[in-house]
Subunit: 139 residues, 2 copies
Amino acid sequence: MRENLTSSIEDYLEAILELCEDQVAVRVTDLAAKLGVAKASVSEAIQVLKQHGLADQERYGRITLTPEGLAQAKKVLRRHQVLRAFLESVLGVNPETAEKEACLMEHAVGPETMQRLIAFLERTLEQSDLDRLPIDRPN
Amino acid sequence: MRENLTSSIEDYLEAILELCEDQVAVRVTDLAAKLGVAKASVSEAIQVLKQHGLADQERYGRITLTPEGLAQAKKVLRRHQVLRAFLESVLGVNPETAEKEACLMEHAVGPETMQRLIAFLERTLEQSDLDRLPIDRPN
DNA sequence: TGGATATGTTAGGATAACCTTAACACTATT
DNA sequence: AATAGTGTTAAGGTTATCCTAACATATCCA
Protein backbone atom coordinates (compact mmCIF):
# COMPACT_ATOMS: atom_id res chain seq x y z
CA MET A 1 0.00 0.00 0.00
CA ARG A 2 2.96 2.30 -0.15
CA GLU A 3 2.83 3.22 -3.82
CA ASN A 4 2.63 6.84 -4.74
CA LEU A 5 -0.64 8.64 -4.77
CA THR A 6 -1.65 10.84 -7.63
CA SER A 7 -2.06 14.56 -7.04
CA SER A 8 -5.76 14.20 -7.36
CA ILE A 9 -5.97 11.46 -4.77
CA GLU A 10 -3.82 13.53 -2.44
CA ASP A 11 -6.29 16.35 -2.93
CA TYR A 12 -9.15 14.12 -1.88
CA LEU A 13 -7.21 13.06 1.18
CA GLU A 14 -6.50 16.64 2.12
CA ALA A 15 -10.10 17.64 1.61
CA ILE A 16 -11.33 14.85 3.83
CA LEU A 17 -9.05 16.02 6.60
CA GLU A 18 -10.17 19.60 6.24
CA LEU A 19 -13.81 18.59 6.38
CA CYS A 20 -13.19 16.34 9.36
CA GLU A 21 -12.12 19.31 11.36
CA ASP A 22 -15.51 20.89 11.56
CA GLN A 23 -17.78 18.00 10.78
CA VAL A 24 -16.44 14.87 12.41
CA ALA A 25 -17.92 12.60 9.77
CA VAL A 26 -17.39 13.31 6.13
CA ARG A 27 -20.07 12.85 3.57
CA VAL A 28 -19.66 12.15 -0.12
CA THR A 29 -21.85 15.12 -0.87
CA ASP A 30 -19.68 17.53 1.08
CA LEU A 31 -16.53 16.29 -0.52
CA ALA A 32 -18.12 16.60 -3.93
CA ALA A 33 -19.15 20.15 -3.16
CA LYS A 34 -15.77 21.09 -1.77
CA LEU A 35 -13.89 19.72 -4.74
CA GLY A 36 -16.40 20.72 -7.36
CA VAL A 37 -16.91 17.26 -8.79
CA ALA A 38 -19.82 14.85 -9.12
CA LYS A 39 -20.66 12.55 -6.25
CA ALA A 40 -19.86 9.63 -8.50
CA SER A 41 -16.32 10.88 -8.83
CA VAL A 42 -15.99 11.00 -5.09
CA SER A 43 -17.27 7.46 -4.73
CA GLU A 44 -14.63 6.34 -7.20
CA ALA A 45 -11.85 8.17 -5.42
CA ILE A 46 -12.90 6.66 -2.12
CA GLN A 47 -12.54 3.21 -3.64
CA VAL A 48 -8.98 4.07 -4.50
CA LEU A 49 -8.29 5.38 -1.01
CA LYS A 50 -9.75 2.21 0.43
CA GLN A 51 -7.55 0.06 -1.79
CA HIS A 52 -4.58 1.94 -0.47
CA GLY A 53 -5.75 1.38 3.08
CA LEU A 54 -6.16 5.09 3.67
CA ALA A 55 -9.87 5.44 4.15
CA ASP A 56 -12.79 3.47 5.43
CA GLN A 57 -16.37 3.74 4.53
CA GLU A 58 -19.14 1.29 4.85
CA ARG A 59 -21.73 1.15 2.17
CA TYR A 60 -23.79 4.31 2.19
CA GLY A 61 -21.90 5.46 5.24
CA ARG A 62 -19.63 8.32 6.19
CA ILE A 63 -16.01 8.45 5.25
CA THR A 64 -13.25 8.17 7.80
CA LEU A 65 -9.52 8.07 7.50
CA THR A 66 -7.50 5.12 8.72
CA PRO A 67 -4.58 5.98 11.00
CA GLU A 68 -2.33 5.71 8.00
CA GLY A 69 -4.68 7.81 5.92
CA LEU A 70 -4.78 10.42 8.62
CA ALA A 71 -1.01 10.56 8.77
CA GLN A 72 -0.80 10.91 5.01
CA ALA A 73 -3.49 13.55 4.91
CA LYS A 74 -1.73 15.55 7.58
CA LYS A 75 1.46 15.43 5.62
CA VAL A 76 -0.22 16.73 2.51
CA LEU A 77 -2.02 19.45 4.40
CA ARG A 78 1.13 20.48 6.15
CA ARG A 79 3.03 20.65 2.90
CA HIS A 80 0.32 22.88 1.61
CA GLN A 81 0.39 25.17 4.59
CA VAL A 82 4.13 25.39 4.79
CA LEU A 83 4.43 26.19 1.13
CA ARG A 84 1.71 28.78 1.36
CA ALA A 85 3.37 30.38 4.33
CA PHE A 86 6.66 30.50 2.51
CA LEU A 87 5.16 32.04 -0.59
CA GLU A 88 3.09 34.52 1.32
CA SER A 89 5.18 35.48 4.31
CA VAL A 90 8.69 35.10 2.96
CA LEU A 91 8.31 35.99 -0.67
CA GLY A 92 5.31 38.24 -0.26
CA VAL A 93 3.31 36.61 -3.01
CA ASN A 94 -0.30 37.61 -3.32
CA PRO A 95 -2.36 35.41 -0.99
CA GLU A 96 -4.62 34.09 -3.68
CA THR A 97 -1.72 33.15 -5.90
CA ALA A 98 0.14 31.67 -2.96
CA GLU A 99 -2.81 29.49 -2.15
CA LYS A 100 -3.21 28.31 -5.71
CA GLU A 101 0.43 27.55 -6.25
CA ALA A 102 0.88 25.87 -2.88
CA CYS A 103 -1.89 23.59 -4.02
CA LEU A 104 0.14 22.58 -7.06
CA MET A 105 3.52 22.42 -5.38
CA GLU A 106 2.34 20.37 -2.45
CA HIS A 107 2.45 17.29 -4.63
CA ALA A 108 6.04 17.80 -5.63
CA VAL A 109 8.04 18.20 -2.46
CA GLY A 110 9.51 15.32 -0.52
CA PRO A 111 10.25 14.89 3.16
CA GLU A 112 13.77 16.25 3.10
CA THR A 113 12.72 19.47 1.46
CA MET A 114 9.79 19.81 3.81
CA GLN A 115 11.92 19.36 6.87
CA ARG A 116 14.40 21.91 5.65
CA LEU A 117 11.78 24.37 4.59
CA ILE A 118 10.20 24.23 8.01
CA ALA A 119 13.56 24.76 9.66
CA PHE A 120 14.09 27.71 7.38
CA LEU A 121 10.75 29.23 8.26
CA GLU A 122 11.45 28.76 11.92
CA ARG A 123 14.57 30.84 11.75
CA THR A 124 13.05 33.38 9.40
CA LEU A 125 9.48 34.09 10.37
CA GLU A 126 8.01 35.95 13.29
CA GLN A 127 6.54 33.82 16.01
CA SER A 128 3.11 35.17 15.14
CA ASP A 129 3.37 33.77 11.66
CA LEU A 130 4.67 30.46 12.91
CA ASP A 131 1.79 30.13 15.30
CA ARG A 132 -0.59 29.97 12.40
CA LEU A 133 1.23 26.92 11.06
CA PRO A 134 0.05 23.75 12.73
CA ILE A 135 3.32 21.94 12.60
CA ASP A 136 3.12 18.84 14.70
CA ARG A 137 6.68 17.74 14.90
CA PRO A 138 6.15 13.96 14.54
CA ASN A 139 4.50 14.16 11.14
CA MET B 1 -1.82 29.79 -29.02
CA ARG B 2 -1.69 31.01 -25.47
CA GLU B 3 -3.37 28.06 -23.74
CA ASN B 4 -1.50 26.32 -21.00
CA LEU B 5 1.04 23.70 -21.79
CA THR B 6 1.07 20.41 -19.96
CA SER B 7 4.04 19.58 -17.77
CA SER B 8 5.16 17.05 -20.28
CA ILE B 9 5.11 19.49 -23.15
CA GLU B 10 7.04 21.98 -21.05
CA ASP B 11 9.58 19.27 -20.45
CA TYR B 12 9.99 18.74 -24.17
CA LEU B 13 10.43 22.47 -24.65
CA GLU B 14 13.06 22.63 -21.96
CA ALA B 15 14.91 19.65 -23.34
CA ILE B 16 15.01 21.18 -26.79
CA LEU B 17 16.55 24.32 -25.39
CA GLU B 18 19.13 22.36 -23.45
CA LEU B 19 20.10 20.35 -26.50
CA CYS B 20 20.27 23.49 -28.62
CA GLU B 21 22.99 24.81 -26.46
CA ASP B 22 25.59 22.33 -27.53
CA GLN B 23 24.17 21.09 -30.77
CA VAL B 24 22.60 23.98 -32.64
CA ALA B 25 20.07 21.74 -34.38
CA VAL B 26 18.02 19.29 -32.42
CA ARG B 27 17.23 15.84 -33.66
CA VAL B 28 14.27 13.69 -32.75
CA THR B 29 16.65 10.92 -31.82
CA ASP B 30 18.52 13.06 -29.33
CA LEU B 31 15.37 14.31 -27.71
CA ALA B 32 14.10 10.77 -27.44
CA ALA B 33 17.33 9.69 -25.81
CA LYS B 34 17.38 12.61 -23.43
CA LEU B 35 13.83 12.11 -22.30
CA GLY B 36 13.86 8.34 -22.36
CA VAL B 37 10.93 7.91 -24.71
CA ALA B 38 10.38 6.44 -28.15
CA LYS B 39 11.05 8.57 -31.20
CA ALA B 40 7.39 8.28 -32.06
CA SER B 41 6.50 10.01 -28.83
CA VAL B 42 8.82 12.85 -29.72
CA SER B 43 7.25 13.24 -33.13
CA GLU B 44 3.88 13.50 -31.48
CA ALA B 45 5.03 16.08 -28.99
CA ILE B 46 6.56 18.14 -31.76
CA GLN B 47 3.22 18.23 -33.51
CA VAL B 48 1.74 19.70 -30.39
CA LEU B 49 4.50 22.28 -30.10
CA LYS B 50 3.96 23.21 -33.73
CA GLN B 51 0.24 23.63 -33.17
CA HIS B 52 1.04 26.00 -30.36
CA GLY B 53 3.42 27.91 -32.60
CA LEU B 54 6.37 27.06 -30.40
CA ALA B 55 8.49 24.90 -32.65
CA ASP B 56 9.25 24.46 -36.30
CA GLN B 57 10.35 21.38 -38.06
CA GLU B 58 10.13 20.51 -41.67
CA ARG B 59 9.43 16.94 -42.57
CA TYR B 60 12.38 14.77 -41.68
CA GLY B 61 14.24 17.86 -40.56
CA ARG B 62 15.75 19.21 -37.39
CA ILE B 63 13.72 20.86 -34.72
CA THR B 64 13.99 24.55 -33.97
CA LEU B 65 12.15 26.81 -31.60
CA THR B 66 10.16 29.77 -32.80
CA PRO B 67 10.92 33.07 -31.06
CA GLU B 68 7.91 32.47 -28.90
CA GLY B 69 8.95 28.89 -28.24
CA LEU B 70 12.41 30.04 -27.28
CA ALA B 71 11.00 32.56 -24.87
CA GLN B 72 8.76 29.94 -23.31
CA ALA B 73 11.55 27.41 -23.09
CA LYS B 74 13.80 29.92 -21.41
CA LYS B 75 11.14 30.63 -18.87
CA VAL B 76 10.72 26.98 -18.05
CA LEU B 77 14.44 26.42 -17.84
CA ARG B 78 14.89 29.44 -15.66
CA ARG B 79 12.14 28.33 -13.33
CA HIS B 80 13.93 25.05 -13.06
CA GLN B 81 17.26 26.60 -12.29
CA VAL B 82 15.95 29.12 -9.86
CA LEU B 83 14.04 26.49 -7.96
CA ARG B 84 17.01 24.18 -7.91
CA ALA B 85 19.23 26.96 -6.65
CA PHE B 86 16.77 27.77 -3.94
CA LEU B 87 16.46 24.19 -2.81
CA GLU B 88 20.14 23.53 -2.95
CA SER B 89 21.77 26.76 -1.88
CA VAL B 90 19.21 28.18 0.47
CA LEU B 91 17.64 25.12 2.00
CA GLY B 92 20.62 22.85 1.58
CA VAL B 93 18.66 20.04 0.01
CA ASN B 94 20.65 17.19 -1.45
CA PRO B 95 21.56 18.11 -5.06
CA GLU B 96 19.94 15.07 -6.58
CA THR B 97 16.71 15.63 -4.72
CA ALA B 98 16.84 19.33 -5.51
CA GLU B 99 17.17 18.57 -9.18
CA LYS B 100 14.32 16.09 -9.16
CA GLU B 101 11.95 18.29 -7.23
CA ALA B 102 12.80 21.41 -9.18
CA CYS B 103 11.75 19.41 -12.20
CA LEU B 104 8.33 18.84 -10.70
CA MET B 105 7.87 22.26 -9.19
CA GLU B 106 8.88 24.15 -12.30
CA HIS B 107 5.44 23.50 -13.75
CA ALA B 108 3.63 24.97 -10.79
CA VAL B 109 5.04 28.43 -10.24
CA GLY B 110 3.79 31.51 -11.97
CA PRO B 111 5.50 34.75 -12.96
CA GLU B 112 4.87 36.63 -9.75
CA THR B 113 6.36 33.93 -7.60
CA MET B 114 9.32 33.59 -9.94
CA GLN B 115 10.05 37.26 -9.89
CA ARG B 116 9.90 37.34 -6.11
CA LEU B 117 11.93 34.21 -5.70
CA ILE B 118 14.67 35.66 -7.86
CA ALA B 119 14.65 38.86 -5.88
CA PHE B 120 14.89 36.81 -2.74
CA LEU B 121 17.86 34.85 -4.05
CA GLU B 122 19.57 38.03 -5.07
CA ARG B 123 19.50 39.40 -1.58
CA THR B 124 20.32 36.06 0.00
CA LEU B 125 22.90 34.25 -2.07
CA GLU B 126 26.57 34.86 -2.59
CA GLN B 127 27.50 36.42 -5.88
CA SER B 128 29.28 33.21 -6.85
CA ASP B 129 26.07 31.26 -6.58
CA LEU B 130 24.14 33.88 -8.49
CA ASP B 131 26.66 33.79 -11.29
CA ARG B 132 25.71 30.24 -11.99
CA LEU B 133 22.13 31.26 -12.59
CA PRO B 134 21.63 32.50 -16.12
CA ILE B 135 18.99 35.03 -15.31
CA ASP B 136 18.40 37.23 -18.30
CA ARG B 137 16.35 40.02 -16.88
CA PRO B 138 13.85 40.44 -19.74
CA ASN B 139 12.55 36.85 -19.56
C1' DT C 1 -45.46 4.30 9.00
C1' DG C 2 -44.82 5.52 4.60
C1' DG C 3 -43.73 8.78 1.33
C1' DA C 4 -40.57 12.65 0.03
C1' DT C 5 -36.08 14.18 0.01
C1' DA C 6 -31.38 13.59 0.53
C1' DT C 7 -27.63 10.82 -0.02
C1' DG C 8 -24.61 7.24 -1.99
C1' DT C 9 -23.53 3.68 -5.76
C1' DT C 10 -23.12 1.74 -10.15
C1' DA C 11 -22.94 1.31 -14.98
C1' DG C 12 -21.52 3.09 -19.03
C1' DG C 13 -19.06 6.23 -21.39
C1' DA C 14 -16.11 10.20 -22.86
C1' DT C 15 -11.81 12.54 -22.94
C1' DA C 16 -7.08 13.63 -22.67
C1' DA C 17 -2.50 12.82 -22.12
C1' DC C 18 0.67 9.84 -22.14
C1' DC C 19 3.19 5.94 -24.02
C1' DT C 20 4.49 1.88 -27.21
C1' DT C 21 5.69 -1.18 -31.45
C1' DA C 22 6.01 -2.06 -36.18
C1' DA C 23 6.12 -0.75 -40.64
C1' DC C 24 7.22 2.49 -43.66
C1' DA C 25 9.53 6.86 -45.77
C1' DC C 26 13.14 9.52 -46.25
C1' DT C 27 18.37 10.98 -45.94
C1' DA C 28 23.03 10.63 -45.97
C1' DT C 29 27.25 8.32 -46.23
C1' DT C 30 30.39 5.68 -48.37
C1' DA D 1 22.98 2.62 -55.21
C1' DA D 2 23.12 -0.10 -50.82
C1' DT D 3 23.16 0.41 -46.07
C1' DA D 4 22.51 2.44 -41.86
C1' DG D 5 20.54 5.98 -39.55
C1' DT D 6 16.76 9.00 -38.82
C1' DG D 7 11.93 10.51 -38.76
C1' DT D 8 6.80 9.49 -39.48
C1' DT D 9 2.60 7.18 -39.26
C1' DA D 10 -0.83 4.03 -37.98
C1' DA D 11 -2.83 1.50 -34.57
C1' DG D 12 -3.45 0.63 -30.18
C1' DG D 13 -2.96 0.37 -24.96
C1' DT D 14 -3.15 2.43 -20.35
C1' DT D 15 -4.35 5.40 -16.78
C1' DA D 16 -6.48 8.92 -14.58
C1' DT D 17 -9.91 11.91 -14.68
C1' DC D 18 -14.48 13.29 -15.15
C1' DC D 19 -19.58 12.98 -16.32
C1' DT D 20 -24.78 11.59 -16.53
C1' DA D 21 -28.49 8.70 -15.57
C1' DA D 22 -30.54 5.25 -13.22
C1' DC D 23 -30.84 2.96 -9.24
C1' DA D 24 -30.40 1.83 -4.06
C1' DT D 25 -30.47 3.13 0.49
C1' DA D 26 -31.21 6.23 4.38
C1' DT D 27 -33.47 9.81 6.88
C1' DC D 28 -36.97 12.56 8.30
C1' DC D 29 -41.31 14.18 9.23
C1' DA D 30 -46.37 14.62 8.63
